[in-house]
C-alpha cells in the first residue's frame, strides 16, 4: 500500500512538471500570437469607453499599460502577475479575469459534465450493441448514425435542435442558463437543468460517436479473441461472455478515451454555448476574441490548456491504477 502511494506520488510529480512546462509553452506562444496580431488593446479600451480621448490621455494610458515596452518585458510582467494571482482585468466586462473565468467555468462545467456523462454512457452502450451485433442491421444503422453525427458541424446540429425542440415544440428555452427576469437567487435547480438540457444534448450527440465506434471496434476484437473462443468452448453464452469478458476488457480503454476527450469537449462547448447563448467559458472566449479582449483571451487560453492537461493526466493515471498488467509490472 505504501509502495503504491509512493509510486503514485512520483507519477504525480513527473506529470505535474510536464504540465507546468506545457503551460509555460502555451503561454509564450499565445502571448507571441497576440503580440503579432494587429489588435491594439488601448484602441479597444478607448472604443469601449464610448467617448473621445485626447492624445495626452491616450499616451498616459499607453504608459500605464506598458504597451510600448519590449514584448519580453511585457510577457515577464504578465506572467509574474499571473503567478501572484492577478490575471488582469477584462476590457470587455471591466472585471478581474480570474473572477470571470471562475464564474463562467462553473456554468461550463455543469454543461460539460452533463454532456460528458451522457455521451460516455450513450456511446458505451451503443458501442456494445454494435459490437455484439456486428454486421447485422442494428450495427449497420447505428454505425451510419455515428458517421453522420461525427461529420455534422456542432453549431448546425445545435441550430436544428433549437429549431425543433425550442422553437417549434417549445419544450426547452431558446437560450441562457436561467429564465429571463428572475433573480439569480430565485432560480431553481430544475430551471437550470431545463436550460442546460438542449446544449448538453447537442454537445453529447457530437461526441458520443467516437466512443461508440471505439467501443464497437474493441468489443469486436474481444469477441474475435482466442479467450472468447475458449469461453464459448466452455459453454458460455453470448451474454455471459459480454458480462464476464467483454465489459471487463473494453471498459478501461473506453474510460481512458473518455477522459482524453476533454479537448474535443471544450472545443465543442465553445460552439454549443454560442448557439444557445449559454453564459459559459466557451461563449466568453468567443466574445473575448471578437472584441479583442486580450487579458481575458489569454487567461481562458491558459485555463483551457490546464483543463485538457488534467483530463489527459487522469486518463494516464487510470491506466496505471486499473489495468493489472501495468499495475503489477510497475511494482
Amino acid at each position: 500500500m505504501k509502495q503504491t502511494a509512493m509510486r503514485l506520488g512520483r507519477i504525480f510529480i513527473r506529470k505535474g512538471l510536464r504540465i507546468v512546462s506545457l503551460l509555460l509553452a502555451v503561454s509564450i506562444i499565445a502571448f507571441a500570437l497576440v503580440c503579432a496580431s494587429p489588435v491594439d488593446p488601448v484602441q479597444q479600451y478607448i472604443l469601449k469607453l464610448g467617448t473621445t480621448v485626447s492624445p495626452e490621455r491616450r499616451a498616459a494610458l499607453e504608459e500605464y499599460w506598458g504597451v510600448n515596452d519590449p514584448p519580453v518585458e511585457r510577457y515577464v510582467n504578465w506572467i509574474t502577475n499571473l503567478l501572484k494571482g492577478d490575471w488582469g482585468e477584462s476590457a470587455l466586462y471591466r472585471r478581474p479575469v480570474a473572477d470571470i473565468i471562475g464564474e463562467r467555468f462553473a456554468n461550463s462545467l455543469a454543461l460539460m459534465a452533463c454532456a460528458w456523462v451522457l455521451s460516455g454512457l450513450l456511446g458505451f452502450f451503443l458501442g456494445c450493441v454494435m459490437g455484439l451485433y456486428r454486421d447485422r442491421w442494428p450495427d449497420k444503422i447505428l454505425q451510419k448514425i455515428c458517421y453522420l453525427l461525427s461529420s455534422v458541424p456542432t453549431f448546425w446540429l445545435g441550430l436544428v435542435l433549437l429549431l425543433i425542440f425550442a422553437v417549434t415544440l417549445g419544450w426547452f428555452p431558446v437560450g441562457f442558463s436561467s429564465p429571463i427576469g428572475v433573480l439569480e437567487a430565485d432560480v431553481t435547480i430544475w430551471q437550470r437543468l431545463h436550460h442546460l438540457a438542449l446544449p448538453a444534448i447537442t454537445l453529447s450527440l457530437m461526441s458520443f460517436s467516437s466512443i461508440a465506434l471505439h467501443t464497437r471496434q474493441k468489443l469486436t476484437d474481444v469477441m474475435n479473441s482466442e479467450y472468447v473462443l475458449f469461453a464459448r468452448a466452455r459453454g458460455e453464452g453470448r451474454w455471459t461472455i459480454l458480462r464476464r469478458h467483454g465489459l471487463r476488457n473494453i471498459l478501461l480503454p473506453a474510460l481512458t478515451l473518455q477522459f482524453a476527450s476533454f479537448a474535443e469537449l471544450f472545443g465543442g462547448s465553445v460552439l454549443a454555448e454560442n448557439v444557445f447563448s449559454y453564459p459559459g467559458l466557451g461563449s466568453a472566449v468567443a466574445a473575448a476574441g471578437l472584441n479583442s479582449d486580450v487579458p481575458l483571451l489569454l487567461g481562458i487560453t491558459l485555463f483551457s490548456a490546464l483543463f485538457v492537461c488534467v483530463g489527459n493526466m487522469i486518463a494516464d493515471l487510470l491506466y496505471g491504477i486499473v489495468d493489472p498488467q501495468i499495475r503489477e509490472v510497475s511494482q
Binding site: 479473441s225 482466442e226 479467450y227 473462443l229 475458449f230 469461453a231 464459448r232 468452448a233 466452455r234 459453454g235 458460455e236 455471459t240 464476464r244 469478458h245 471487463r248 476488457n249 478501461l252 489495468d323 493489472p324 498488467q325 503489477e328
Partner: protein, 311 residues
C-alpha cells in the same frame, strides 16, 4: 474397450465448408474438411498428426460446435451413441466435452486465474478447483494471479485444470506442447495419459508427432482436411514398413531423427482439391484410379487407411 459400440466419439464422412464471397458478391462454398473419420474410445489417447492447414483445429471446433457462423457441417458426428446436434453440443461443451487450449492467449488477460478456472457455472466449484491446483503443484497464491504472471508450465496446468473442473469424459487438447521444453512437454503428455487412464477419452492435436507416438494409443494422420490413416501408435514407433499410407510413411521419414527427408510438392489448398485421392499429386505410387475417385477406407492390420494401394 475394443467394442465399437462403446466408443465415446464417432465421426465419419464429416465435411466442413465455409461460405465465402467472391469479389462480385458471388458466393461459393469452400470445403476445408472432407470425408473425415475418427473414433475415440474411453481410456484412449488418440493423437491427431498433420501439417498446418490439414484441419486439425477445425475438427476440434466442429466437435464443440463453435465454428464461425458461415460454416456448414455435414456428416456423422456421434457422442456416446447419439447424434451431436447444435443443441446437444451447447449442453455438452464445458460439461462433458472440454477443450484444453494451446496457450495463455486463451485466458482472459484481465481476470484472475482462480475465478477464470472456476468458470461461469454456479455454484462455483472453488473447492474442487483448489484441490486440482494442489494436485498439479500450483502454489496457493496462483488463484490471485493474472494470466500474464504465470510461467509457461503453470499456465499449462491451469489450462488443464479448466478441463478437469468439469466432469468431462472427452478432452480435446489442441497443440498443448509448442513452446515447451522437452521436460515440460513430457510432463504435459504424461498428464493427458493419466487422464485417459482414469477412463476419459483424449484427443491430442499436435505437431510434436514423435512425442505423440510415445504417449498415444492410436495416431490419426490428417492431410488436406481428411483422415488418410489411423494406426496404432506402436506402428509409428516401428517405422514406415508398419505404416499403410504413403503420406504417413513420408511424414515418418521427414522427422529429423529418421532422415529429415522432405516430401516434394505442397498440400493442396481448400477450394483447389484434386478430384480423386487428395494425396495423389504427391504420391510416388499413384495409378490412374487414384485420380478418378476418392479411395474408400480399408482396414489393414488393425489400422484404417484411405488408399487403394496401402498394405
Amino acid at each position: 474397450m475394443e467394442a465399437k459400440n462403446e466408443s465415446l466419439l464417432e465421426i465419419h464422412d464429416l465435411s466442413v465448408s465455409f461460405r465465402m464471397y467472391d469479389h462480385a458478391l458471388e458466393q461459393h462454398d469452400l470445403q476445408v474438411i472432407s470425408d473425415l473419420h475418427l473414433t475415440v474410445r474411453p481410456g484412449e489417447v488418440v493423437a491427431i498428426a498433420g501439417s498446418s492447414g490439414s484441419g486439425k483445429s477445425l475438427l476440434a471446433s466442429a466437435i464443440l460446435g463453435i465454428l464461425p457462423g458461415n460454416a456448414t457441417v455435414h456428416g456423422h458426428l456421434h457422442y456416446k451413441g447419439s447424434q451431436l446436434t447444435p443443441e446437444r453440443q451447447a449442453q455438452l461443451r464445458g460439461t462433458e466435452i472440454a477443450l484444453v487450449p494451446q496457450s495463455i492467449a486463451y485466458l482472459d488477460p484481465l481476470m484472475k486465474v482462480g475465478k477464470q478456472a472456476d468458470g461461469h457455472r454456479k455454484p462455483r466449484p472453488t473447492e474442487k478447483r483448489r484441490k486440482l491446483f494442489a494436485r498439479f503443484g500450483l502454489p496457493e497464491k496462483t488463484e490471485q494471479l493474472y494470466p500474464f504472471q504465470l510461467s509457461g508450465g503453470m499456465a499449462r496446468r491451469v489450462l488443464v485444470s479448466t478441463a478437469l473442473i468439469t466432469d468431462a469424459q472427452l478432452i480435446i487438447a489442441d497443440e498443448p506442447t509448442p513452446g515447451m521444453s522437452l521436460d515440460q512437454a513430457m510432463e504435459a503428455l504424461k498428464l493427458f495419459r493419466t487422464l485417459a487412464d482414469e477412463g476419459r477419452g483424449v484427443i491430442l492435436i499436435t505437431h510434436d508427432i514423435d512425442l505423440a507416438f510415445a504417449f498415444a494409443d492410436r495416431v490419426a494422420v490428417f492431410y488436406a482436411g481428411t483422415t488418410v490413416e489411423i494406426a496404432p501408435a506402436a506402428d509409428f514407433r516401428t517405422g514406415p514398413e508398419a505404416l499403410r499410407h504413403p503420406y504417413s510413411q513420408a511424414l515418418w521419414r521427414a522427422l529429423p531423427q529418421n532422415g529429415f527427408e522432405p516430401v516434394p510438392g505442397f498440400q493442396p489448398y481448400a477450394g483447389n482439391l484434386p478430384k480423386g485421392c487428395l494425396y495423389a499429386p504427391r504420391c510416388p505410387y499413384k495409378t490412374p484410379e487414384c485420380e478418378q475417385a476418392v479411395p474408400p477406407v480399408r482396414t489393414i492390420r488393425g489400422g484404417e487407411v484411405r488408399c487403394y494401394h496401402g498394405a
